[in-house]
């Protein structure tokens, strides 16, 4: 039991490791990345690890999957500090951090109860007007949805 962290989540041969996910956002990240529909992939999920920065964090390891930037950046809404490790042959070949994209399609609801997206089956669409404290302007009703009102669809 020399390296308990290594034991909790096994290493992968090649694929993507997403670290520093706030534990409370884990299931939202799973949903945003559509991991449910990756039935044939080996996915290792660990949660409630201690983290100085996040309190409790989660880690996801996905064997054999490499995400496009646009796809992975969608999780920045719920896991802004997430770190990515791209693994090949058990080695980390690339590290990166997620970045909130300029436009968000789907993922989150518009906060305005009078918005068309809350009446008809319209896919939500937002322009990101602030990335630090996430602030989204609805393409339809033009109202602002901020970080504390984010509601993942």
């Amino acid at each position: 039991m020399k390296e308990p962290k290594q034991l909790s989540v096994s290493a992968i041969e090649s694929g993507t490791v997403i670290d520093h996910i706030p534990a409370k956002s884990l299931f939202k990240v799973i949903q945003i990345l559509g991991l449910e529909s990756m039935g044939d992939k080996q996915i290792t999920i660990g949660s409630n690890f201690e983290s100085k920065k996040l309190g409790r964090k989660a880690i996801i390891k996905i064997e054999g999957v490499f995400f496009e930037d646009d796809d992975i950046n969608r999780i920045a809404l719920v896991a802004p500090q997430a770190k990515l490790n791209i693994i090949r042959d058990y080695d980390v070949v690339e590290k990166s951090i997620v970045e909130v994209p300029d436009e968000i399609v789907g993922i989150t609801k518009c906060v305005n109860p009078k918005c068309i997206t809350n009446f008809e089956s319209v896919k939500t669409k937002f322009k990101v007007i602030s990335k630090e404290n996430v602030s989204l302007k609805c393409h339809y009703c033009e109202k602002i949805t901020d970080q504390e009102h984010l509601e993942i669809i």
Partner: protein
């Protein structure tokens, strides 16, 4: 601009705005031209708005166009639960352009994405009403001879007023000085002040409605509605404060004109109506010329 929709005033460049105003000037000189001959215009009013509808229908009729549509949702298939998507797809096949008013915010943008033909937003809830803004700009330019370097006083409900917000955004394209006069509860939202700050435009906020208006080129009056106040006592305190009376106009500038989106309740006393500075009824008429110009522009007709 041909075959584009008009959903928000921000959809237009300053050049496009000026082109529409120039075209409207032409319609004021010669309002009856058969440019919409053989065209069918759908006017879909999912909520009633008699003034806006009549203005559009007058504009369409003077251009020789045919009108189909409904005047409120209860008389249409919408009352049977039809989705906006289905209504727009259907009407899209029957007409050359859709004018729509709808209580749901963002509905016009959505409709413009469904339809192959141009959609003109005639008001989507508290969001946008760009044809009102264009007729306001037309009225300001016509009475002042310019849109530049004007001092505009906006009075009343500056917090919720859709018309006011669009007017501020539109006039901030020129070197405008704004004076905002409102009760504390209905002051202009911070986001608009930040916007003006970033543009380096001057604005002043007042709670008193007094002789500061002597500097105004335009006074834009709006209704102060009771239901906007959380405390009814606050409303009682202010309801007679933001009322324009003829005596208040004594020391105002000759070129001053008073605008109001109508309908008014009591915020402009009827004794102002005879003053030559009262312009709100002409402003409403300008709406017809402006809408004629908008329809022709979006259909690519000259």
């Amino acid at each position: 601009m041909k075959n584009r929709s008009l959903v928000s005033i921000d959809d237009l460049t300053t050049g496009e705005i000026l082109d529409i105003l120039d075209m409207a000037t032409g319609f004021e000189k010669d309002p009856t031209r058969q440019l919409l001959d053989n065209k069918v215009i759908a006017t879909l009013f999912f909520e009633p708005s008699t003034r806006t509808r009549l203005s559009f229908e007058s504009a369409i009729s003077r251009l020789g166009g045919k009108i189909i549509g409904f005047t409120d949702a209860s008389s249409s298939s919408v009352s049977k639960g039809e989705s906006l998507n289905d209504t727009i797809k259907t009407v899209n096949n029957y007409s050359d352009l859709i004018v729509m008013r709808h209580p749901v915010e963002g509905s016009a943008r959505y409709a413009s994405e469904i339809a192959d033909i141009p959609v003109v937003n005639a008001g989507d809830g508290a969001n946008q009403h760009p044809t009102q803004t264009l007729l306001d700009l037309y009225s300001i330019r016509k009475t002042q001879g310019t849109l530049d370097n004007l001092n505009i006083f906006i009075v009343g409900d500056l917090k919720y007023g859709r018309t006011v917000h669009s007017l501020i955004m539109a006039m901030s394209r020129w070197n405008t000085t704004f004076n905002f006069i409102s009760p504390d509860e209905l002051m202009i939202p911070k986001e608009y002040k930040i916007y003006l700050d970033n543009l380096g435009l001057k604005y002043y906020e007042h709670t008193d409605f007094t002789d500061i208006i002597s500097r105004a080129d335009i006074i834009y009056m709006t209704r102060v509605q009771k239901e906007r106040f959380s405390d009814p006592i606050e409303y009682e305190k202010v309801k007679n404060v933001y009322v324009l009376r003829n005596t208040m106009l004594k020391n105002t500038k000759d070129n001053l004109r008073i605008l109001h989106p109508l309908p008014r309740v009591n915020e402009i006393h009827t004794d102002v109506d005879v003053n030559k500075k009262a312009y709100y009824f002409e402003q409403a008429l300008n709406g017809v010329y402006t809408r004629q110009a908008i329809l022709c522009t979006l259909l690519g007709l000259k």
